[in-house]
Symmetry: C2
Subunit: 477 residues, 2 copies
């Protein structure tokens, strides 16, 4: 009973330059009790009211005594002062339940790629093996960040300025003309596409089909009309068909993942990027380039991005999350000067700012040169894994199975003849604690591919081999 | 020249179980050159292509020799192999500029509360003085978090489960019936309101007038119709007027900040909260309670929240940011089971997940009992500052200035007679490097108050005194 809530009391301001007098306090409490017919509630402890009003405890004690003598308040031994119950008709509506507000007017909730249990071999993971992550160096950088005086007095809507400077310098090295003022730090690349597309609610958007499931999810929430441009990772892109679809449906923007496209693992050739720029010019099509993948590919510094050859109008976005640590969710968008204000406005409304501890730690990581050193090692490790994966596939897979040759990086696409049920293969594998990702959210309409990604970055080589061998068996029978 | 981009080449899959043959490679490159009339581009280094296709360097060398002998490729000394320029009419459109995509269809960008320079005395800051922040303990918790194996293999859409458990236990102590499954961790409280209101695009929303500027910003982006319920921090709330407005405009939801309302510093009395629940029931009005402030008030554990007395339908949100570190942006929303799926769907589309390093560090902070210990010290320090601020105000302010008596916490509201120009006062102060926040974004329509918040949490006592004395002078003349 001692911890029972007490009455909140609001006090009118005292006379200017004065403290509340005892009668003012009594009058105030009395009015509240009578006007709102409160009863059964406890009065605040004397020390609290004395503190709130900055008057002496004696003043409050006198006020309470007066209220008791007026019969408005009664003392319960060892419990405190309670407002005297009024006539029986007075009830405090403290159990009135608030009305229910439905927030499920968006699309039905779909299960996430429920991460398989740690003992499962996840053949479709796009994560990196923990042993390849530079955790110790990241820890060093966090220690430096936590000693940084910038932590305690500010947050950064656009992102920590020295981090934006480091990123701009990196991009310059890749042939991208970037200024720190044109960079907005985001929570992974997902927030980058979220703030770009926020002002395109209801618009028609073109994108590869299939594409990244979380982008599809965003388009659904934004009530976009999606024009799926068919992507077959075993073929060159059918640019004529793409042009036809774009001409017919007149989308405002095209969202692309030119390197290790999710989920197909497909990477664009230079000529394809050039043709896309021609489409952009011809059909007044805004371009959003999601470049999460290039940093994982050896020699990628020689491969010009869409942003490098198409100029500042291309929205370029990238993330450090997938290369450094799944839990360090920092990405960015590079945009034209004209687009920055609306991106900042939208970001501030969606989260004010990201965690600047993480941003400062990442700044340290880039500034000290750790990132380039890490990428070199990571690319070598992924190359080794890619070769290993190809070797197993060549040795084990039946003749009717085909796969793409991305040349390194984290993943490839494995395509299976239509007569083989992917669900059956998946459930066979599940019994052996092996997981393949058949998420259909990535397709706009009926699936135009019949397969799934093979990620060779995440598992130990031993588990990768075990998983692929089991997969080969499941596809054979 | 050495770093000039090279051609991206896409290869058809080889025969099943085989590697690419030299003729296949030649044919592939030849097709790309001829089909797309590429010229002037460099061929990839031999080692790269050998790596991509997992064939020997000799195979690639032979393929390149063949291309040279076919006249398709020429060797430039010390530069590498280049595609022979075709007839003059062939041009690589590498400088085609992408189309511009406008993202500024939302409201015009408004300047942020541009944080005043470090030398400025910010009288309106809602931040906490860095000396009161538990930075050393936070650092300890980050060190523990960086050693946590959960970091490297996962991210958490709903938020790190042990953190949600700690928060649920805290809420239980405050009389709120909370389960970890009903909590979604967010990036500050701003993301909490952002994901709640995401599915209420275009809806009519009631809120205090004035209210938090960043919430107003969100409502503008969401194209909400805003019903401003007048809030005068010197009066009891005019519940009859509120009821009238709600009946007239039938808003779907009411967004409230019941403790240290931003910007007025106003806190609701118990009877006001009860009356709001009655309005909710009568008008089928969803309630969103933004409780950022209560943790800063002494004895607040005795004050029941709207969620405590109104039950699970009330969306309850809170943040650790304002109490711990401006750069540790972690908040949460507690919602009914029926609302969780849509909140998760929206959160995953907006950022996938927040930084789990920060979440794990905060979990440690709560689990070790640091937070409760910190709040006790913080509340005492804020109480001291509140008293100090009142003392200066009483001693210095002219008789026509009034201020609220919130009883502690971070801020109060100072109201000025209409005939005094706030802009003139502000510019007088600016010359002395003193800042007051006259941001008008918080008002729905013309301002119903003529004043500004005084934050006594941020400045040193010396600077607070200096700032208030200068303010009193500026208001006097």
């Amino acid at each position: 009973m001692k911890n029972q809530p007490y009455l909140r009391i609001k006090f009118k301001a005292p006379q200017p330059g004065k403290k509340h007098t005892c009668p003012e306090i009594v009058q105030n409490i009395k009015e509240q009790i009578l006007r709102h017919r409160l009863s059964g509630l406890r009065l605040p402890p004397i020390r609290f009211l004395a503190h709130q009003l900055n008057v002496s405890k004696t003043t409050i004690q006198k006020a309470y005594d007066e209220l008791i003598s007026q019969g408005l308040v009664e003392s319960k031994p060892r419990l405190g002062l309670y407002i005297t119950p009024a006539q029986k008709e007075v009830q405090i509506p403290s159990v009135t339940k608030a009305a229910f507000l439905a927030t499920d007017q968006g699309p039905a909730y779909l299960n996430y790629h429920a991460p398989p249990s740690p003992k499962t071999i996840n053949l479709s993971s796009d994560l990196i093996n923990p042993d390849l992550l530079p955790l110790q160096k990241i820890s060093q950088c966090f220690r430096a960040a936590l000693a940084n005086p910038d932590l305690t007095s500010k947050y950064y809507v656009q992102g920590y300025p020295p981090l934006r400077k480091e990123i701009a310098e990196r991009l310059q090295k890749y042939g991208i003309n970037a200024h720190p003022d044109n960079i907005v730090i985001t929570i992974g690349s997902q927030q980058a596409i979220s703030i770009i597309f926020r002002s395109l609610t209801g618009a028609t958007i073109a994108t590869e089909n299939p594409t990244y499931y979380a982008a599809q999810r965003l388009f659904k929430i934004n009530k976009n009309k999606i024009i799926g441009l068919p992507l077959d990772p075993f073929q060159e892109i059918q640019m004529d068909l793409w042009a036809e679809l774009i001409q017919k449906y007149q989308p405002q923007a095209l969202y692309l993942i030119p390197n290790f496209q999710n989920p197909t693992g497909h990477s664009y050739s230079s000529s394809e990027l050039q043709q896309i720029l021609l489409l952009s010019k011809k059909f007044n099509l805004g371009l959003i380039e999601d470049d999460w993948g290039s940093d994982m590919l050896s020699f990628s510094e020689f491969k010009p991005s869409l942003r490098a050859i198409g100029g500042e109008n291309v929205f370029y976005l990238n993330t450090f999350t997938s290369k450094l640590l799944p839990s360090l969710r920092i990405g960015y968008v590079l945009a034209s000067t004209k687009n920055i204000p609306s991106l900042l406005y939208t970001k501030s409304a969606s989260c004010l700012a990201a965690s600047s501890i993480d941003e400062i730690a990442l700044y340290e990581f880039l500034y000290r040169g750790y990132y380039d050193a890490h990428l070199t090692k990571l690319q070598q490790a992924l190359d080794k894994r890619y070769k290993f994966c190809l070797k197993i596939l060549r040795e084990r897979m039946p003749a009717n199975i085909k796969w793409t040759l991305p040349g390194g990086g984290p993943m490839l696409w494995l395509e299976v003849p239509r007569h083989i049920s992917l669900e059956k293969v998946s459930s066979k594998l599940q019994k052996q604690n092996i997981y393949i990702d058949l998420n259909q959210e990535c397709f706009a309409g009926p699936p135009n591919l019949h397969g799934f990604p093979i990620g060779y970055a995440y598992n130990s080589l031993e588990n990768l081999q075990k998983g692929l061998e089991a997969l080969a068996l499941a596809l054979t029978n």
